[in-house]
């Protein structure tokens, strides 16, 4: 069953085509990779899916619902959340508050309930605190509970960003270069974490990455982009063998004339 579908999606900034006529489908419960050289339009596709940019042409369907014209917060309500390439945490809030803030979505009490501190407020607020606590545990951030997010080590900031995204109980999680700046050891742990999250939260993951070992290790299907166009699609092995992909990454093979 397909969860997310891009149909001939094009995004132009003035005369520049950042994404041109890209189509692919993401299966439910899969881990899907999006790779390509710098400037290939990967992050632009994330911004289109999450509603930060509006699609110039084409359609994006999530569970059959067209999300093209939706505001980012509506897209989040549908169940799509993301992390950012250049980490965007609430830097001056603590680790715990970062997660707790994102949990807001699971309470529905209004401003009046908050002012009056009524039963509904107390019950729902308690639910939020429990949920935040649970997420802290799952993501292994308990010992950094009261650390201001901006002061966390880089790897943990990435981890916290994932935790914050998970707080919404999403159906689709978009990870934008989660392993950027990590050493091989940390990358390996991240791979395990991504798989674990997928299984325990029963969600679908779409990941952009430059670390080939991560992509090849966890992704069940991969789309390769170059200059805003789809170059290839397939399993890790298929993509690796594709001459077009090799050309895009390593340049054309020199023909040696003897």
């Amino acid at each position: 069953m397909k969860l997310l579908e891009l149909k001939n999606v094009t995004k132009q900034f003035g005369g520049l085509t950042a994404v041109g006529n890209v189509s692919f489908e993401v299966e439910k419960d899969s881990i899907f990779g999006l790779i390509g050289p710098n400037g290939a339009g990967k992050t632009t596709i994330f911004n289109l899916i999450t509603g930060i940019y509006k699609v110039t042409e084409g359609e994006i369907l999530f569970e059959g619902i067209e999300t093209n014209s939706m505001e980012p917060y509506r897209v989040a309500e549908l169940g799509i959340t993301r992390t950012f390439q250049n980490i965007r945490l609430f830097k001056k809030l603590t680790t715990y508050d970062n997660i707790l803030t994102a949990c807001h979505y699971n309470a529905r009490y209004g401003l009046m309930d908050a002012i009056l501190r009524n039963k509904r407020f107390k019950a729902e607020e308690k639910g939020l605190l429990d949920q935040a606590e649970q997420l802290m545990g799952i993501m292994g951030l308990e010992d950094r509970r009261n650390v201001v997010a901006g002061n966390l080590p880089y790897g943990l900031q990435r981890r916290l960003e994932i935790a914050r995204a998970l707080a919404l109980n999403p159906k689709l999680l978009l990870l934008d270069e989660p392993a950027a700046g990590m050493n091989p050891d940390e990358t390996a742990r991240l791979m395990a974490l991504i798989k674990e999250i997928r299984d325990s939260f029963k969600l679908t993951v779409l990941v952009i990455e430059h670390h080939m070992d991560l992509i090849m290790g966890v992704c069940e299907r991969i789309v390769v982009l170059n200059f805003g166009k789809k170059l290839a699609e397939g399993t890790a092995i298929e993509v690796q063998a594709n001459p077009k992909v090799i050309e895009a990454y390593l340049g054309e093979e020199e023909v040696v004339v003897c």
Partner: protein, 296 residues
Amino acid sequence: MDWFYVKGILILSGINLMAVLGLSLLTGFTGLFSFGHAGFMAIGAYVTAMGTMKLGLPFIPALLLGAAGAAVVSFFIGRLTLNLKGDYFCIATLGFGEAIRLILDNVQYFGGARGWPGLPVVTNLTTVVIVDVIGVVILANIIRSRHGRNFKAIREEEMASQTIGINVFRYKMAALMISAAYAGVAGGMLAHLLGFIQPKMFQFIKSTELTITVIFGGLGSISGSVIGALVLTSLPELLRTFASWRLVVYGAAVVFIMISRPQGLMGGTEITFTNIKKLFSRFFRASGEKAGGGGR
């Protein structure tokens, strides 16, 4: 100093505090700077005065009417300007504040630039204190809820807030309307303290004063706003001995605080029972260690 004089200063501080509290939500917690809140005070003052003078309402209902009036105007201002980013929003509010003053200057129904005399003088210390306490409690309850956390999230990182499902525009609008209502109440109380209002009282400098107070107290701190309003309203009075130099000294004091404590007096923390307890225990532990160290 006799009690009458001190009381006067306290009432004025309390009135300023009300406007500062609202602005604290907008600037300190949501991260939107405004230089036009005197405009909302003016609307509150004139609408409340209209309530008591023309509609014959008692003071408190008139005050609520003033708050509602300011909130309604802020709604339309917000629709037009809240999509503007950072500095541009700030400039738009500046223009709005001045526009309100100039409009009131020219509306003869309210007395125009000559002002509107003869309002009932009904604001007293008790009303101001009660209104302030209600104001603080409402604000504190909002801040300590998911809504308060969402305001802070928007201040910290707008794009990330959207991707965790926060309707940023709606929250900004809520912050603006609540802050306008607070400013409206402050304006209404001021009008019925002096018994006279004039557009000139709500100049740009008044807006600046409110924003300075919020920053002085510490962005993102209700206790900071309270202390800031009390200190900065009474400071010019305490400096009377400096005669014509007092505003220079006032300015110097603000500059000094901002240099030595750029995060403001409270720097985003609150005075609560738990925080005081924590501070005490830390203090006693530190002094205990020192004593132990000396013994060795």
